[in-house]
């Protein structure tokens, strides 16, 4: 089992979501993140210009069985890509175990619905 964490553009979220559904991913969690980087953006408030280095992105987190890893990665890579700097990154972790609370099933079995 692998956990995939991907930092993507907010504007690409709808496309990534659709690509993941199409790849058979049934659920994933996501949250908005703010990062700080070296590159700054100009912000103007009532004529005053100031530099802002806040970068807004969205983080998605998916745990998949090993057989699904490649197609999930492909789905994200293809749908989150624009070619400009700042398209994001993907991190992959090993998962030690998974337990479904309702049935106490554990291991890869707990990641998908057999019914």
């Amino acid at each position: 089992m692998k956990k995939i964490e991907a930092v993507i553009r907010k504007s690409k979220f709808e496309d990534v979501k659709q690509a993941l559904y199409d790849a058979g991913i049934e659920w994933f969690s996501y949250w908005d993140i703010t990062g700080l980087g070296r590159s700054t953006e100009e912000q103007i408030v009532r004529g005053q210009v100031f530099q802002s280095s806040y970068i807004h992105r969205r983080m998605i987190s998916i745990v998949v069985r090993d057989i699904n890893l490649d197609k999930t990665l492909d789905a994200i890579l293809n749908s989150a890509w624009t070619g400009d700097t700042g398209d994001g990154k993907i991190f992959i972790y090993d998962i030690q175990d998974t337990i479904r609370i309702r049935t106490r099933e554990s291991g890869p079995e707990a990641l998908f619905n057999k019914e």
């Binding site: 907010k10 504007s11 690409k12 709808e14 703010t34 100009e42 912000q43 806040y54 807004h56």
Partner: protein, 457 residues
């Protein structure tokens, strides 16, 4: 519906013989401003401004996604500023002024451009129930002319703002701005002239539009469907609506619209009198009936009453009662409120997804359909108990229904074709659709360089 000097004095001659004596002998006392009427009209003007900013801005802003909320607010705000300027430059003159020759029934002239020849002591030439006899023997209103001009200015402002609902979330700001100015000049002004001016052809035909059912709501609603169709769907639209980002804004917006509508409708009598009181009452009752009906429909069909539903229902009721506010009583208001919610609910819940057009915030489904329904029902339900001179089909006056249908169809055809041509022209000039990338990132950031919900530390 603005009564004019000639027709009203003619009616007065027919119906009230005592006026005859007054008009034939010139009065010796100069006409004066009625302070009560004037005070109410100044307040009503402020109420109608409140409908656009922040009322409509919040209502529409809550319904879009959070990456586009500032864009909607900005559209409402810049319309308020730009159309107010257009109004004093030539809009008022084109709408309410008079021209000569074959154009007279269709558009006003430029005599009042830059409000030329209008003094602060002048009384309004337009009036409805309150009038007085001027030194020249002609009937004249009881409020200053400039107050009438400002009151009408707010109507000119809110009408293009209503169209925003159709093209929200995908329009290029420059294209939007140019289109809005052109639309106000070439679509709003003529239609206002037709229905409300002393020379207008629909006015002379006897079309009833107390506060703007055809001029404001049908006009904007038809423009809405045309712009939605020409612009195409939003990139993320897939056969169902995109959920609102902040429903509390929607409620605040609908509430402010309801408050503002008291000025819109009860101010359209241009006086503080019983007719204004009636307009206030039927406006409130129709909105309440429509809100309740929509909530019940939600409750029965989708098992739960929704907050977006009741807010939309209230606005639909307010739209539909607009043309009728000076002509129907409480029974008529109840009927209009219930019917409009039934029809608009079916329109946005079933017909829109079937047809597959992307009217982002239902500007057509609520304002267009609600406005048409209100204008037609005015021809059915107008009661002689409210204004003795006007009655609808229910009271045996079938001609009124026919006249209302003519007014609605004329507006649909003119607004439909005119909007299409102006929208295409703007597209040729500057391009009207936001680029796919800008649409994906959001119009707040790409068109204005700002974001609504910042987390600066």
């Amino acid at each position: 519906m603005k009564r004019n000097i000639l027709v009203t004095s003619l009616l007065s001659l027919l119906f009230i013989p005592t006026i005859l004596a007054q008009t034939s002998a010139l009065p010796t006392v100069a006409p004066t401003v009625n302070t009560g009427d004037t005070a109410w009209m100044i307040v009503a003007t402020a109420f109608v401004l409140l409908m656009t900013i922040p009322g409509l801005a919040l209502f529409y802003g809550g319904l879009v996604r959070r990456k586009n909320v500032l864009n909607v607010f900005m559209q409402c705000f810049i319309i308020t500023a730009a159309i107010s300027i257009e109004w004093v430059i030539c809009g008022y003159s084109l709408s309410f002024g008079s021209s000569t020759g074959f154009l007279a029934p269709y558009i006003g002239g430029l005599d009042w451009a830059f409000l030329n020849n209008i003094n602060i002591t002048d009384l309004s030439p337009y009036f409805i129930s309150h009038s007085q006899i001027g030194l020249d023997g002609k009937a004249i209103g009881t409020i200053p002319h400039i107050v009438f001009i400002m009151f009408q200015c707010m109507f000119a402002v809110i009408t293009p703002a209503l169209i925003i609902g159709a093209f929200a979330e995908r329009i290029n700001f420059k294209g939007f701005f140019i289109f809005t100015i052109l639309w106000s000049l070439f679509i709003y002004n003529p239609v206002a002239h037709w229905v409300w001016s002393a020379d207008g052809w629909l006015f002379k035909l006897g079309a009833l539009d107390f506060a703007g059912g055809t001029v404001v709501h049908v006009n904007a609603g038809i423009a809405a469907i045309v712009t939605a169709l020409v612009l195409g769907k939003r990139r993320d639209y897939k056969r169902h609506a995109i959920p609102p980002h902040n429903i509390t804004y929607v409620v605040m917006g609908a509430g402010l619209l309801w408050v503002g509508w008291f000025g819109f409708n009860a101010g359209s009598g241009l006086a503080a009198d019983g007719l204004a009181g009636n307009a206030l009452m039927v406006t409130h009752i129709a909105a309440a009936a429509a809100a309740l009906t929509w909530a019940l429909l939600d409750w029965i069909i989708d098992k739960r009453p929704t907050v977006v539903g009741i807010s939309t229902g209230a606005v639909a009721g307010l739209v539909a009662i607009t043309p009728a506010a000076g002509f129907v009583g409480v029974p008529g208001a109840l009927a209009i409120g219930v019917i409009v919610s039934l029809v608009c609910f079916c329109m946005v819940a079933y017909v829109k997804p079937k047809l597959g057009y992307d009217d982002s915030l239902d500007a057509f489904g609520v304002h267009g359909i609600g406005g048409m329904l209100g204008a037609i029902l005015t021809g059915v339900l107008a009661s002689p108990l409210i204004q003795p001179a006007y009655s609808g089909a229910l009271y045996g006056n079938y001609r009124q229904l026919l006249v209302q249908l003519i007014a609605v169809f004329a507006t649909i055809i003119f607004s439909g074709i005119g909007t299409f041509l102006l929208f295409k022209l703007t597209d040729k000039l500057v391009g009207i659709r936001a680029s796919d990338k800008h649409e994906a990132i959001g119009l707040d950031e790409t068109q204005h360089g700002e974001t609504a919900y910042n987390n600066f530390d």
